[in-house]
């Protein structure tokens, strides 16, 4: 490229503007080429990054169990959520451990261990703690991590309406400070 520009410098005196004919043509061709390349590649790039730009579906409330069935002792409840995964629509079953605290407020914990994601269960070692079978992580009734796990158990959004317990999306534990 630069070699050609040197050649053209001898003609420059005859030109009205500072731009050589070669330079003008390469800008024009380069611009048109870039425009065409962009027209070709931008749709494909937008197509590829669509997952991060898609609106996330807002959390919905799922009716899980009558409020009267919730006890101070954590109990396991299964419920189904409606999941649209691209072209695959399914209703996978989720699990929540629901109990009441000393003030009588119900709360629901996710059973997924914060260590490596195994499924925890209540009181399997008769010590009133959540225990993970994989690496023996322990949590209190509020989900506070005692050993092994680095974080407290996640919590489901929970509301009680007309004596029914509804669960929403999973969030970080709010009960353990």
């Amino acid at each position: 490229m630069s070699n050609h520009e040197h050649k053209d410098n001898s003609h420059r005196s005859a030109m009205k503007s500072g731009m050589s004919r070669r330079q003008f043509l390469s800008y024009t061709l380069g611009g048109a080429g870039a425009f065409m390349a962009a027209g070709m590649s931008l749709p494909m790039i937008r197509f590829a990054v669509d997952p991060i730009l898609k609106k996330k579906a807002g959390g919905t409330w799922i009716k899980v169990v009558e409020a009267s069935k919730i006890t101070n002792e954590p109990q396991e409840f299964k419920f189904k959520i409606h999941q649209v995964d691209g072209w695959y629509v399914s209703d996978p079953e989720l699990t929540a451990w629901i109990s009441k605290d000393d003030q009588g407020n119900a709360f629901a914990l996710s059973p997924i261990c914060k260590h490596l994601g195994c499924t925890i269960a209540w009181n399997t070692e008769k010590n009133n703690e959540y225990v993970c079978p994989c690496h023996n992580a322990h949590y209190t009734k509020d989900g506070k991590n005692l050993v092994v796990a680095p974080k407290p158990l996640d919590e489901y959004d929970l509301k009680i309406e007309n004596d029914w317990v509804y669960l929403g999306p999973v969030k970080a534990n709010t009960r353990v400070v």
């Binding site: 937008r46 197509f47 590829a48 691209g86």
Partner: protein, 223 residues
């Protein structure tokens, strides 16, 4: 900045002669549309390659969403076309490009034929071009099945029936293409593999040979 990067690499690897060897060659007057407008017919080969590049790129992007499976193929195509941003455009590029590449290739072949460019010493390049032509037809045939809709299914059925009419070995060809006894799950995965791996691989190798020969022998002389 860009120039700096280029110079830094060039000092170490001396890349200038490489691209100069590819890019700097004179276009003979008789193939330059600036001299004789009718020389635009010499552009068809390049245009075929340009559309082939678009086909490869849009195809790569389509496989981000497409699933070669009889349950999900149609659903995933429907999803990428209607739910993914610019899905209609990216699939449209691949769909229309497929036809356009055949048209351009045909025009390129006509030009080579009517300018007699296939004659000695360029016979081998004609043969390679013909192989590319059949690879392209194969890409069109295998790609047509992938959306797994009615049109795709019956077009493939008919195509395979034509292949079956070959004497003696017809039924073997049919079963080999189908990957089983019916046009079904195994046909779809098989056609997908051929469409995205085998034929494009062969195509790139043949294109390399095509371009190498045209640079080595130069473009054929004026009529």
């Amino acid at each position: 900045m860009l120039k700096g990067v280029y110079n830094w690499i060039d000092e170490r690897l001396d890349i200038t002669p490489m691209w100069r060897d590819v890019a700097d060659h004179e276009v003979p007057e008789h193939v330059n549309p600036a001299h004789h407008f009718s020389a635009f017919v010499y552009c068809f080969g390049g245009l075929t390659f340009f559309i082939t590049v678009i086909q490869i790129l849009s195809g790569m992007f389509l496989t981000m969403y497409f699933v070669p499976d009889i349950i999900n193929a149609y659903k995933s195509v429907d999803y990428l076309q209607h739910k993914v941003a610019f899905g209609g455009i990216v699939r449209g590029m691949h769909h229309w490009g497929a036809s356009l590449v055949i048209v351009m290739m045909f025009l390129h072949t006509l030009r080579v034929f009517f300018t007699g460019s296939y004659k000695a010493p360029r016979e081998m390049n004609w043969v390679v071009g013909m192989l590319i032509f059949f690879i392209m037809l194969g890409l069109g045939f295998t790609g047509y099945l992938l959306p797994w809709d009615n049109k795709a299914y019956f077009a493939t059925k008919v195509g395979i029936q034509i292949a079956e009419s070959v004497p003696y070995i017809g039924t073997y060809i049919k079963e080999l293409m189908q990957g089983g006894e019916i046009v079904g799950a195994e046909t779809l995965t098989r056609f997908f593999a051929i469409h995205v791996f085998f034929l494009p691989g062969a195509l790139l190798a043949l294109l390399a040979a095509h371009f190498f020969m045209i640079r080595k022998q130069g473009i054929s002389g004026p009529l």
